[in-house]
C-alpha cells in the first residue's frame, strides 16, 4: 500500500515502515526541502538547511522511539534550522537584524475595494503559471508573515504548533497570518481579478 505523504494539517506523515536511513532520505528529504525553500526563498539556502537537518536526523535515528516522534521533531528542527540560517545570512550581510515587532511590520491599511476574482468555487488545481505567480508572491511577503503563512496555509500546521515553533503567542500567530493573507490578496489580485464588464 503506498504511503500517504500528506494529509490535512500534517506536514510529515509517519510512514508505516521501519525507520531506516534510506526511508528517511526518500520520505523526508523532499519535505524538509519543501518547507526550507518556502521559508528562505531560494534554492541554495534551502539546500544548506536540508543537508544539515537530514544529517542530524539520519545520525540520530536510533534515538527515536517511533515515527510520530520523528515527525514532530522534524517539524521543529526544520523550522529552527531555517530561522538560524536566515539569521546567519543577515549577520553576514552586516544588516542589523531587529526582531520584528508588530508595529514595524506596518499597521496594515484597509483592503482596497476590487473586482470579484475570476476563480471557480472550489478551484484547487493550479496551472504551472499560476503556481509560479503564487510562489513569487510568497517570496515577496515580509519574513515574519511568510513564515506563518507557509506553516499555516501551505503546510497546514495548527496555529498553536506554529506559535511553539516560532516563539509566538497564539494571538500573534493569528495576527501575522491574517496580515499575510491580506498581503497575498493584494499581490495576487492583478492576476485573479475578473475583467471589468463594459
Amino acid at each position: 500500500m503506498p504511503v500517504r505523504l500528506r494529509e490535512e494539517g500534517r506536514m510529515f506523515d509517519p510512514p508505516p515502515e521501519k525507520l531506516t536511513p534510506e526511508l528517511v532520505f526518500r520520505e523526508y528529504a523532499p519535505r524538509i526541502y519543501n518547507i526550507a525553500r518556502r521559508m528562505l526563498g531560494n534554492d541554495a539556502d534551502a539546500e544548506d538547511v536540508t543537508q544539515d537537518v537530514l544529517l542530524q536526523v539520519v545520525r540520530k535515528l536510533d534515538t527515536f522511539r517511533g515515527d510520530s516522534q520523528l515527525a514532530t521533531w522534524l517539524h521543529r528542527v526544520t523550522v529552527n534550522a531555517a530561522l538560524a540560517h536566515r539569521q546567519k545570512r543577515a549577520n553576514r550581510q552586516k544588516h542589523e537584524n531587529h526582531e520584528a515587532d508588530e508595529d514595524s511590520l506596518g499597521a496594515g491599511s484597509s483592503p482596497t475595494p476590487g473586482r470579484k476574482w475570476d476563480i471557480g468555487p472550489e478551484e484547487t488545481v493550479l496551472a504551472a503559471e499560476q503556481a509560479g505567480i503564487i510562489e513569487k508572491a510568497i517570496e515577496q511577503l515580509p519574513e515574519p508573515f511568510r513564515d506563518v503563512y507557509v506553516l499555516a496555509d501551505v503546510e497546514g500546521l495548527p496555529n498553536n504548533e506554529i506559535g511553539d515553533m516560532l516563539g509566538l503567542s497564539l494571538p500573534a500567530v493569528k495576527s501575522r497570518l491574517h496580515r499575510a493573507r491580506l498581503r497575498m490578496r493584494d499581490l495576487l489580485a492583478p492576476h485573479f481579478e475578473g475583467k471589468v464588464t463594459p
Binding site: P21, F25, R31, T124, L126, G156, M184
Partner: protein, 83 residues
Amino acid sequence: MNCNELLEVLLDYVNGEMLVESRTSVDVHIQGCQHCGILVQSYVHTMRVAKALPKCKLSAAFEAKLRAMLEPELKGEKPKPTS
C-alpha cells in the same frame, strides 16, 4: 456589523472559530456589502492556492549530493568521526 469589524474577525470566520450568532452577523453583512463579499472571496482564495501549491522538488544534482554525503549511513555503516 460594519466593514472594519468584519475585517477584525475575518480570520476566525474563515477558520470556523466563531460563535453561531457572530457568524450570522458576518453572513448578513456579506450579503449586503459587495466590497466585503469580494474581500472574503479573495481572502479564502489565498488560503486555497497555498494549499494547492505543488511540493518543491529536489534537483537531481542536489539529491545526488545528499546521497553522497549520507553514503555511510545509507549503507548502514557508522560515519567516520570528523576531526
